[in-house]
């Protein structure tokens, strides 16, 4: 477990959204959190530097920017798992790929600026691996908080 001091905790829990769109946003956000402008800037810089924050700024919705993303899963025979992971990961359109605990044991996200590329990449992976790729495009998004508490 990483050690997180109270200032860092206040930043992580209190500032996962709502960063002000004002000329001095760190001053204004800091006032809400009980931190000075300088303390907040330094705190954020430390958290980004230590890798506890991936970054600080806008979280863009890739789909509304014109691209598309699609979750997909494959049931990979265990003895072929590493080989298939390499074949899948070789595609630059694969953003994330996770091994998961299920017969469908490989789960990845295909993302492309041109939505037509998604189906092409899936067809390429099926041809290369000889395995069925189960596309799981979202039908509906209910709520994407992406927020966590520490």
């Amino acid at each position: 477990m990483p050690v997180i001091d109270p200032t860092e905790k206040a930043i992580i829990n209190g500032l996962q959204g709502g960063f002000p769109l004002t000329p001095r946003p760190f001053r204004d956000a800091g006032a809400e959190l009980g931190l000075s402008e300088g303390e907040l800037i330094n705190g954020v810089r430390d958290l980004v530097g230590a890798g506890q924050l991936s970054r600080f700024g806008p979280l863009w919705n890739a789909e509304l920017l014109g691209g598309d993303v699609c979750l997909a899963a494959i049931a990979v025979p265990p003895e072929r798992f590493d080989e298939v992971a390499e074949q899948v990961n070789a595609h630059p359109e694969i953003a994330h790929n996770y091994e998961r605990t299920h017969a469908l044991n490989m789960w990845f996200v295909v993302s492309a600026d041109d939505p037509r590329r998604i189906a092409e990449v899936i067809a390429e992976i099926e041809a290369e691996t000889g395995l069925s790729v189960h596309a799981m495009p979202k039908v509906k998004e209910f709520f994407v908080g992406f927020r966590v508490e520490v």
Binding site: P58, N97, R100, P137
Partner: protein, 158 residues
């Protein structure tokens, strides 16, 4: 839809805002625009949903939230909108989507991501969700990630 100036703002900020007293002015100077225009465009993009939110973007793993459970639920198609809205609003759920079933291998049509420090913590959260959904959930499972095989940020071209 985004115009060319919006796309330049995306490219200038997708790795994060400058960590300075006047971050929007710094972005404006880089793009040779006014601070007021940057702020107005970011506000519009936030209102339109092209920006989900602005602030700290945590790295779950570095924060010790190493257990990542994809809880999946088989609920009636008629009920999925109502149940999805309720589950998605829970604090313990970070994203929630309806997705197609792939029968017989995959009967689940509702996905809810749950993070925690341990698998036990995630399982306890999933059980709370199960009680909330009640008998409307005909089956459910939770898939833990056992290995990250690839992880790159989404990269958007300007």
């Amino acid at each position: 839809m985004l115009d060319s100036i919006d796309r330049r703002i995306v490219a200038a900020t997708q790795a994060g805002l400058p960590l300075v007293r006047e971050p929007y002015r710094a972005v404006a100077e880089k793009l040779d625009l006014d601070q007021a225009e940057i702020i107005a465009r970011l506000r519009r993009l936030l209102d339109e949903g092209a920006i989900r939110r602005i602030g700290a973007i945590p790295n779950h793993y570095a924060l010790g939230l190493t257990a990542n459970g994809m809880s999946v639920w088989d609920v009636a198609d008629k009920a999925v909108a109502d149940i999805g809205a309720r589950i998605g609003a829970l604090d313990e759920v970070t994203h929630c989507y309806e997705r197609p079933r792939h029968l017989p291998l995959w009967p689940y049509n509702l996905f809810a991501m749950v993070h925690g420090h341990t698998r036990e913590e995630v399982r306890a959260k999933v059980e709370r969700i199960a009680r909330l959904i009640g008998p409307a959930a005909r089956a459910h499972d939770v898939l833990f990630s056992t290995r990250i095989l690839k992880k790159t940020g989404l990269r958007i071209a300007a």
